[in-house]
Symmetry: C2
Subunit: 361 residues, 2 copies
C-alpha cells in the first residue's frame, strides 16, 4: 500500500514536498488556508486537495509559516490519532516546547528542517527537485518513538535530501551560527548601500556581492525565524556585537592616531579569527575541507564561449568540483575559476592551454 502523506501549507516548501513525493509514488493530499494555493499546488502535481472521504494519512507534513507551526502540529496530532506528524520550521526547540505545552502526543511528533529555499516564495516557485542534494535535519524529541523518526527520515530521503539527525537545541544553536547570523550580517551590510551615491556603487566587486546575496530574503519570513529562534540567536548576536564593538573602537583609535598599537592587534585578531572559522566550513559532499586546486581561464563574453570551455574540460575527462564565474564592471571578459582535484590540475592547465585558452593558477 502506498504511504499516504498529508501536506498542510501549500507555499514553496509544502508544494515542493508534495511534488517530490507524488513523483516517488506517495499518495499526497494537500490543504491550505487559501483554496487558491491548494488549487495551484494540485495543478503543479503536488497532490490532491484533501477531502472528508480521504483515508487517514500515515504522515502529516506541516509546512505552515514558522509562527503557526506548533499550533498546526497540535491540530494534526489531534485530528489523526495514529499519524506521525512533522513540521519544517527553521527553528525546532520552540516548536517542540509549544507542542509539549499543549499536551499533544509527543511520541508521534518529530520536528524537521529541510535546508532548502529560494529567493522567491509561494507554490508558484515550487520545484520537485528543491531538496535534491540538500540537507534535511531530523530532530526527534526525547518522547518521539523510533518508528516516528524513521517515517520522517523516509519522507525526507524520498525528496532527494540527505538526512542528519540531531537534538532540537543542537539544531537551533547550529543554524543560529551558520544561517541566522549570516542573514543578519548580510542584511546590515547591504543596508549600508541604500544611501550610497551611484559612483560609489560602481565599485562593488565580487566580495560585497557574495556577502550580501542573501540580503534579498523575505523580511516577514525572517522576522518569524529570528523571533522563533531568539533564544539561540540572541547570544550569537551578542558575541558578534561585542566583536564588532572591539573592531569599531580599534579602527576609531587608529583614525584618531592616538596610541593605537593595541588597536592594530585587535583588528588583526578579528580578521585572523575569521580565517580560522572560515577554514572549518566543510567541503563538498560534507567531507572535510578538501584543498582543491584552482585553474583560472579567461572567458570572452560571447555566446558559446563557456560551452567551449566546459567541452574542453569534459573532453579531458576531468570532473569539476566547483566553479565560480567572475566578471567586473565594464569587462568584456570573465574569469572562470575551475576547482578540480589537485592531481589533475596540471593536466587541465595543459589541455586548456593547448586548446588556446588563457589559463592561470
Amino acid at each position: 500500500m502506498r504511504t499516504r502523506v498529508h501536506v498542510v501549507g501549500c507555499g514553496l516548501i509544502g508544494t515542493s514536498i508534495g511534488m517530490a513525493l507524488s513523483r516517488k509514488g506517495f499518495q499526497v493530499t494537500l490543504s491550505d488556508a487559501s483554496p487558491t494555493a491548494v488549487a495551484l499546488a494540485r495543478d503543479l502535481g503536488a497532490g490532491m486537495p484533501a477531502s472528508a472521504a480521504d483515508a487517514a494519512p500515515d504522515v502529516v507534513v506541516v509546512a505552515a509559516p514558522p509562527d503557526v507551526a506548533a499550533s498546526v502540529v497540535v491540530d494534526q496530532l489531534t485530528a489523526y490519532p495514529s499519524a506521525v506528524v512533522t513540521d519544517v520550521a527553521s527553528m525546532k526547540a520552540k516548536v517542540l516546547d509549544d507542542v509539549a505545552e499543549a499536551g499533544a502526543d509527543l511520541t508521534r511528533y518529530v520536528g524537521s528542517h529541510p535546508m532548502a529555499g529560494r529567493e522567491r516564495s509561494g507554490a508558484v516557485a515550487a520545484r520537485a527537485d528543491l531538496f535534491e542534494g540538500r540537507t534535511w535535519v531530523v530532530c526527534p524529541g526525547p518522547a518521539s518513538s523510533p518508528r516516528a523518526a524513521a517515517e520522517v527520515e523516509q519522507i525526507a530521503r524520498a525528496t532527494g535530501a540527505a538526512t542528519v539527525t540531531m537534538g532540537a537545541e543542537e539544531h537551533d544553536e547550529a543554524v543560529a551560527a551558520v544561517s541566522h547570523l549570516p542573514q543578519v550580517a548580510a542584511s546590515l551590510v547591504a543596508a549600508r548601500l541604500r544611501d550610497l551615491p551611484d559612483d560609489a556603487l560602481a565599485l562593488c566587486g565580487q566580495g560585497v556581492r557574495d556577502v550580501t546575496r542573501i540580503a534579498e530574503s523575505d523580511p516577514m519570513l525572517w522576522t518569524q525565524i529570528l523571533a522563533g529562534n531568539a533564544a539561540a540567536v540572541a547570544p550569537v548576536l551578542d558575541r558578534m556585537a561585542a566583536d564588532l564593538d572591539a573592531v569599531r573602537q580599534a579602527v576609531s583609535a587608529l583614525g584618531a592616531e592616538s596610541r593605537a598599537d593595541g588597536a592594530r592587534g585587535v583588528v588583526a585578531k578579528a580578521i585572523a579569527d575569521g580565517q580560522l572559522g572560515h577554514a572549518r566550513i566543510p567541503g563538498k559532499h560534507g567531507s572535510a575541507p578538501t584543498a582543491y586546486a584552482t585553474v583560472i581561464a579567461v572567458v570572452p563574453d560571447r555566446a558559446g564561449a563557456l560551452a567551449r570551455l566546459f567541452q574542453d574540460v569534459g573532453d579531458a575527462g576531468i570532473n569539476l568540483e566547483d566553479l565560480r564565474l567572475e566578471h567586473g564592471v565594464g569587462a568584456q571578459v570573465g574569469l572562470a575559476e575551475l576547482s578540480v582535484l589537485p592531481a589533475v590540475a596540471e593536466r587541465l592547465r595543459e589541455v586548456l592551454s593547448h586548446k588556446g585558452w588563457s589559463v592561470h593558477e
Copy 2:
C-alpha cells in the same frame, strides 16, 4: 619610444602590473626590498631589475604595502624629478595627505586603486591578466596635473582594467561601504564558526559560504587597509554597530517573550533595508541592475556533465550573463543556475528540456 615604467614592490599587485605592461610592450624595471622577490618577478616576465644605468622612468608605480605607500611615493617623486608617480593602496586620502605633508611635488602624483586581488599573495601568485575586466580607480588630487592623470589612466587601461575617476575622499567612503565593511562583517561571522561542533558545521549551506568567502583574506594586509582608511571606515562601522545593537535587543526581547511588538518591527525593517540596499548593486558591465531570467538545470556530479550542459546552451546560440553552481552536503547532483536575458529564457528551457535536462524556473 616605449614608455618606461618602474614598479616598486614585487608582491602580487606589483608583479602582476609588471607582467601585464611588459606584454603590452612597456619597458618595465622592478625593485623591491627583497632581492628574491625581484628575481622571481623577473622570471615571471614582469620586467628587468632596476639598475643605476637605467634611463629615468616616465611613470613609477608604487605597489608597496599600504602602510609604507606614502613614504615610498615621496622617495620616488624625489628620485625621479620628471616622472609621474602613482600608488595602488586601497585607501587614497591618507596617502595623499602624507605625501602633501612631506612637501613632495603633488603635480606629478596621482593615487590609484586597482580593484583586484587574490586570496594568495606574493609574486608567485601574480598573473598578467589580474586586472582584465576589473575596475581601476584613479584619484587625481587638487594639485595633480592633467598630464599625470592621463599617464596613470593609460597605465591602468594597458593592464586591461576599466578606469573610473573620483576624488580621494569619495573613493575612501565608497570602499569603506562596498569593500571594508563587508570584509569586517565576513570575518566576524566566520569567527563564530571557530568553536562550533562538527555536527553544526555540517549544516553550512550556500548562504554562509557566500557571506564568509572573503574571510580567507590576509590579516596583516587588512589591518593596514582598515587602519589607513580608518577615517572613512569608523563611521560605517558605527552605523553597522548601531543597527546590530537594535536587532540584538529586539531579538533578545522576542526571546524573553516580553512585550515585543515593536521588536518584530525592528527586525523586519533591518531585513527590508538590506533588500533595498542589495537591490542597488549594479549588474554586469556596470549597467543598472538587469532583471535576468534564471533557468535552473540539475547537473549530475560526473565528468563532462557541465560540459554537455554548456555545449547545449552554446548550440542554442544563447549567451550566459551569469552562472552559479550549487551543491549540497551529501549530494551527487548540483544545480546550475543560468542567468540569461529574459527574451531567451523560454527558448533555453525548451532547448535544455528537449536535450533531456531537468530544467526549472
